[in-house]
Amino acid sequence: MSGSKPDILWSPHHPDRYVICDSELGLYRIGPVGSTEAKAGTLPLSEETAATLLAINSDTPYMKCVAWYPKHEPECLLAVGQANGRVVLTSLGQSHNSACKELVGKEFVPKHARQCNTLAWNPVDSNLLAAGLDKHRADFSVLIWDISSKLSPETSVAAEKIRLSSVDLDSSTVVTKPLYELGQNDACLSLCWLLRDPKLLLAGMHRNLAIFDLRNTSQKTFVNTKAIQGVTVDPHFHDRVASFFEGQVAIWDLRKFEKPVLTLTEQPKPLTKVAWCPTRTGLLATLTRDSNIIRLYDMQHTPTPIGDETEPTIIERSVQPCESQIGSFAWHQSSQNRMVVVSATNRVMTDFTVFERISLAWSSTTSLMWACGRHLYECVEDSAEGVESLIEKDIATKMRERAQSRYGHDTVQVWRNHLLAGGKDPQLKSLWHDLFYILSVSHMKQCAEDMELKLQGNVQSVVYSGIKNIVKTTSGTTESRRCWSGSDRQTDVPRYHSEERCLALRLCGWISRGTDTDVENFLRSLEQEHEWERAAAVALFNLDIRRAIQILNKGAMAEKGDLNLNVVAMALSGYTDEKSSLWREMCSSLRLQLKNPYLCIMFAFLTSEPGAYDGVLYESSVAVRDRVAFACMFLNDAQLPRYIDRLTLEMKEAGNLEGILLTGLTKDGVDLMESYVDRTGDVQTASFCMLKGSPGEVLKDPRVQCWIENYRNLLDAWRFWHKRAEFDIHRGKLDPSSKPLAQVFVSCNFCGKSISYSCSTIPHQGRGFSQYGVSGSPTKSKVTSCPGCRKPLPRCALCLMNMGTPVSNCQGTGKSDEKVDLTRENKLAQFNNWFTWCHNCRHGGHAGHMLSWFRDHTECPVSACTCKCMQLDTTGNLVPSDSS
C-alpha cells in the first residue's frame, strides 16, 4: 500500500462512506449522480453513483496498513500501521471536540522498530488492536494494544531514552507496553480475529498459520504452510478461512486445520487481495497484481467437507469492473454484491455490482423460473393473449391435454381419437380415419370372406402396407367408359377397376364394403358434415353431375350456407364436352379464382383431357385421400404407381400424416412419422399410431421404441402415473413383447421357494406377488400358507393375520362382483391386500393397513422398531397429478 498501491475501506457504519488510502487518507461519500451532480468536485463512479471527497488526512507518512474502528462511537477512527512499526490512531472529517479526541494522535510503539504489516481490531472487545510486525531477533511480531490503556509512567522514561528518533514524541500520547506480545522471533504478515471466539487471533506468520488464544498466550495452534498472507474469516461460516501465497489461495476449515480443505487454481501473477463477500455466502473475490479483472469463486454449493477425498466443486468466474488495472477493491458491507474498486494509479474509482449467476429451470409443464441472487422470477410474457395462444400451440401443452382426454385410447371407433385430440388438427383427423379404415378393412377381411382368394393370404400385410404397396401389385385392371348418370351421353373418360383399386378406394373411405362401388353412403355422410363442396366433387368424379348439382343446391340452402354454391351449380349445369366451347374456355381460366379447392378441381376435371388430370392430382389443398381415390379411378396402371410414389415421397419429406394412407404402418410409415416427429415433437401421436402397426417389423424399429419410451417418460414427468399405467396396459395388449417379466418374487421364509411360482392356478408368472392372494377369487385368497411347504405366511404387523387373508374392511367381493368391471373401490381394495414391507427394517403387512398407519405415524408399526419406513420411500409422498 505504500507509495502507489492504494487500498479501500468501507465505513463499518455509514453505508455511503469509504476511505481510500495510498500516500494519504481520503474520505469519500458516495451518492446517486443526480443529487451530487451540481456540486463541483464529484467523481462519477458508475452510471448512477458519484463520490464526493469529504476530507483528506496526510498526517501519517509511511503508511503500511489501515484498519477502521469497528464500533459506532467514536466514528471514523482509523488505526494506521507505519513502516517503522508504530501504530497511530487518527481520524478523518471529525470536528475536534468529538468523542475520539483523546484517542486521536495516540501512538503505539514497539520495542524494536520494523514494518507494521497488518492491523486488526477485535470485533467484540474493540479496545484491542492487534498489529502484525516484521521479524526481529529479540522481539515479538504480534502485539495487541489496548487503546484505552492509561499511559504508564515508564513510557515517559522510555521516551527519554529515545535518542535515535528524530520525531519529537509527545510522551503523553505514546504507549510502549502492549497488552499481549505473541510470536517471538517470527514475522507476522496477516492477522484476523476469529469470529467464533473473540479471544482467538489467527495470524499468518513466517511459514505457518498460528491461532493464538489470549487466555493462554504460551500456547498456540499452528500449521506449517506457505499460504500465510491475507488471512480472512468467512463472515457466513466462521470456521472457514482463506489465505494466500503468491498466486494460490488456500481455504481452511478451522475444525480440521492440518491442511487446506481446498486450494484454488493457481494464478500466474501474485495475489494482492482476497476477500469474502459479506452479503452472500461462499463468494470469494481475489485480485492479482497488474490485473484488470477480479476473479470470483463461488463456494455456494460446497458441501461441508467430510472425508479427505471430497474435493468440493467451485464455480470460478471473472468480472471486469473497469478498464484500468485494479489497485484494490472492497465489498460493501450491506449492499448485495457491491464493491468499490480503485485503480492502481491515479485513484480512479468505480462503483461496481457483481451480477449474480442466473439459474434457469423449465417445469415439466410450460412455466419457466429463474433465480438470481435472492430473487426468484417466474416468466410471464407481456401480452397475455399472445402467450395463451403460444402456449396452446405448444406441443407439450397439447399432448398434456390430449393425455388427459384419453387420446389414443379409443380402440373401437379409432377415428374418434382425433376428436379426443381436440378435433382441430386436419392431419390427425386424416391419420385416425386412415387407421380406422385400415383396421376396419383388415378386421372385415378376417371375419367375412368376401374378398377374392388370392388376396386372402397376405391381406393383413397388404392392408397394413398402404396404398403405395397395394397399387404396385395391381393386376387385371379393366377399363370402362360410363355414361354421365342421368344422361345418355357417353363420356370419353376412361375409368379403371381392379380388386386393388377397389381396396384402395375403401381405404380412402369412399366406398364401404366389398366390390360395391356405390359412393352414396359416403356422400350422405359428407352432406351430414356439411362438406358440400367435397361431396359435390366426389359425386362429380363418380360421373353424377346431377347429384353434384343437387348437393351444391342443398349446400346453398342449408343454414349458414354459401349462396355462391348455386352459382357454381349453375356453371356446372352448363357442362359441355365440346372441346372448343366458350364454357370450357371460361371454366378452365376462371376456375383458378375459386377459393374452394374442391370446386376448383371439379372444373379442372371437367375441362381436362382424359388421363391428364394434373389440375386435380396436384392440387395440394385437396385431401390426400380424395386425390388418391381420384387417381385410383382415373389413372391407368402406368400412371397410377408413378403418381402414388411421387405423392408418398412428398408426404414423407413434409412429415404429413395424411401420407400414412399411402405408406401404411410400414417402414415407410415410420420414416414419414419420423419427419412428422422431427417437425412437431408429437411423440404421443407417433406412439399410439405405431402401436397399431404390425408388431413385427414396425414396433421393433428403434425409432418407434424411442418415441414410446419418451412418451412414457413424459407422462411420468407430468406425474400422470395412472395415464402411464393405462398406456402400458394398452401397449401390452397390442405388443405383448413389451410386457416386462416378473422381477420381484415373494419367497417363503421357510422353504425359500417363490410363493407365486408354486401357485399353479395362475397361468403366467407376470406380476408375481400382485396376483398372489389378492384377486377377489375365494380360492386364491384362501392361500395363507406357502404352497410349497405349507408353512404359514408372515403376519401383517397391524392386523396380525397371516398374509393372504383379505383385509377385513374389504368385504362383499362375492362372485357376482367379479364379472362386473372392477370399480375404483374394488381396485383399491385389491391393492389393500397386497404384500408390502420396508426394505430397511423388513417389517410390513397389508398395503392398505400400512398406508393408513403411515398417514398418522412416521415410525414402523412394529413395537420397538424405530425405522422411519415411509420417509425412506422417496416416491411414497408424491401425489400423482392425474386424478383418475
Binding site: S2, G3, Y62, A83, N84, G85, V109, P110, K111, H112, A113, R114, Q115, D134, K135, H136, R137, A138, D139, F140, A158, K161, I162, R163, L164, S165, S166, V167, T176, E181, L182, G183, Q184, N185, D186, A187, H206, R207, T217, S218, Q219, K220, F222, N224, K226, F245
Partner: protein
Amino acid sequence: MQKQSSGEELLATRNMDLHILDHRLRVTSISKNGLVNFTHPLIKLIFLRNRTRCKFFSLTETPENYTVVLDEEGFKELRPSEHLQVESAIWLPLNVVSNGSASSSSQAVGVTKIAKSVIAPLAQQHVSVFMLSTYQTDFILVKEKDLSVVVSTLEEEFNIYKEEGGESVPVHCQDVSNGLHKNGREAIQPTVHPVLIPKNQFCVMSLDPDTLPSIATTLIDVLFYSSSPKEDPQPSPSQDCVKFFSFSLIDGYISLVMDTEAQRQFPADLLFTSSSGELWRMVRIGGQPLGFDECGIVAQISQPLADSDISAYYISTFSFDHALVPEEDIVSVTDMLQHQRNEPATS
C-alpha cells in the same frame, strides 16, 4: 553447573525448531584495494533487487577487507579476480525459531539464547560455525559437509526442518547421515584468541526496503568511499576506533550495523531500531586471521555471555569474529574475558 542446567535447557528447547534454510552460501572477501572492481555487482545486489535472484546477501566492512556472504545466484555476479578470495566450502544457514512458549526466563537475546543449545554442542562435535547476526535474526552458517553431524547433534533438542521451495520438510538423522559422520575428536584444547575492544559505539538497525532508494547515496558513500587514503590500511590494535560496517539484505529484510559516527550521516527517521535506542560495544576476536576450520571460537565467547545472561550479536567475517554486547555490560564482559584468558593457563 552445566549438568544442573541441562535438564532445564532441554525443557526450554523442546519447543524450538531449527530450520535449515534454502540457501547455499559462499563466503568471500574483497580486498580493500580491489573494491573498485566490484562496485557494479555490489550496487546491483544491494539496490536492484528486481534485477537479481540473489536472496541472501551480506556485506561487512572491516579494516582488513570486505567480507561478502551471498548465495550462489549472487555469487555468479562476482567475477573471479586476484582481489577476490573465496572460501572453498558451501555454507548452509541455520535458523532457530522458537515455537510456542514465548515465556522464556531469559531476557537476553541473540547468540546468547542459542549458545547452549546450538553453539556449544556443535563446538563439542568440532563443527566450525560462521555466525551472522542481523536485526531480525541470527544465522548460524555451517559447512554443507558437516550437515549430517549437525543434524545428528541437534535433533535431540530441536525439531529440524529443511526448507525446500518454501515448504518446511522435517529432517531426521538417517536422511543425511550417509556422509561423513563425525568429525575428529582430537585437539580438545581450544586456542584462546586475543580480543580487541574498540571504543566506538555501534547500533543495529533496519530499514523498510521500500525506502532503500532514499538512503542510497548515503549508503554508497559509507560503503565505498569511507576509507580515505590517509587511513592506514593495516589496522593497529592500539587504535581506539575500528572501522566496522555491515549491510545485509536477506529474504527481503535489511539489517545494518554501524557505529554512531556513520549513523549520523543517515536521515534518522528512516532507520528502525529499538525504541530504547540501545547502543552496543564490539569485541573483536582474533589476533590474526582465524581461518574457517577452527571450531569453538564462538562458543568461547557466547558461553560466558550466556552464563551471565548478556545479550549479544555476533558477526563473523573473513578474518575475524565480532561480538556486539550492550554498552552497559562491556565492563563485566571485559572482566569475564580477562578471567577466561587467565584460566586456561592455570588449568
